[in-house]
Structures are given as structure tokens and as C-alpha cells.
């Protein structure tokens, strides 16, 4: 089962590079932001998988906290793009 999780993680890292293409090339800040948000959600899955590969359920808590921080960061940047300040 650990092999399956490792393979899943490797495939996820490959899809991460596809998103990175949009972050580097994509015209305008909003395209980059949407790709960065996708990368963040993939990182959550990678954290959970790493926790299962090494047998440490501490990583689940890190994944939960990371999910919230990722969400807040996306909201803050979107707000900044919209208004020019975070307030």
C-alpha cells in the first residue's frame, strides 16, 4: 500500500509542474493566482500522503492548518488585486 501512496505522490508532483507552467507564462496576475491556488491544494494532498508514507499522523494536522492558510492567502491576494489594499 505504501508503494501506491508513493506512486500517487510522484504523479501529483508531475501535475504540479503543469500548474507551474501557468504560473510562469500566464498573462496577468489573476491567471497566476488561480494556478498558485491549484498548486496549494495539491500540496495539501501531498502532505497527507507523506504522513501515510512515513506513518506519522502529525502531518494530518499540518495539512488542516495549511488548508486554512492557503485559503486565507488566496482571499487576501484576490482582495488586494481587487482594491489595491488589504482592508
Amino acid at each position: 500500500m505504501i508503494d501506491l501512496f508513493t506512486a500517487t505522490g510522484l504523479v501529483l508532483i508531475c501535475t504540479l509542474f503543469l500548474c507551474l507552467y501557468r504560473v510562469i507564462v500566464g498573462p496577468g496576475a489573476c491567471n497566476r493566482l488561480i494556478a498558485a491556488n491549484t498548486i496549494g491544494t495539491k500540496i495539501i494532498l501531498l502532505l497527507v500522503l507523506v504522513g501515510y508514507i512515513y506513518g506519522r499522523n502529525l502531518f494530518l494536522d499540518i495539512a488542516l492548518a495549511y488548508a486554512m492558510i492557503n485559503f486565507l492567502a488566496t482571499l487576501a491576494i484576490a482582495k488586494y488585486l481587487e482594491k489595491g489594499c488589504i482592508c
Partner: protein, 105 residues
Amino acid sequence: MIGFFSLVTAILIAMGLFFMIVGPIGLIRLPDLFTRAHASGKCDTLGQALILLGLIVYEGFTFDAVKLLMLIIFLYVMSPTATHAIVRAAHILKYHAWKPGEERE
């Protein structure tokens, strides 16, 4: 001989990976920001939910499974909201919406 639950886990993770691969492909192929938001918002949410469900089946009935379930619920509330925030910012910044027959960005 692999167990029944391991098989279910493998199938769920495989289906989730399919959607996780389709999401970035859509992010690259689709022509403008609004259509890209469709790909990133829907395929990724579904893929995540399927992979985490597979892990719940693997885990069984423990506190860790409850945490995974909570992660699924968070992602289901957060993903549409984040997509909506970005698309709204793009709408206010007057991003051009692609029409059929136009050049791709």
C-alpha cells in the same frame, strides 16, 4: 491476495488521480481565465475528495479518519469560495472573456 478495502482504496485513488491530472491540463489548454477557473475549481475539488475518501477507507474508523473527513468538508466549502474571489477580482479588473473564434491567450 489483497483485501477488499485495499482494492477500494486503490480504485478511489486512481479515479482521483485522473481528475487531478485533467485539472492542470485544462489549466493549460483552455483559452481564458474564466474557463480556466472551471477546470481548476471543479476537477480539483472532485479529485481531492476522491483521494481523501480512499485514504478514509484505508484508515478505517479512527480519529484520523474524522480529521480526513473534516479536511474534505473544508475543501468543499473553501474551493468554490476561493475560485469565486479570484474570478470576481478578474471581473472587476475587466479581464476579457473569450468568445468562440477568437485567438487564444
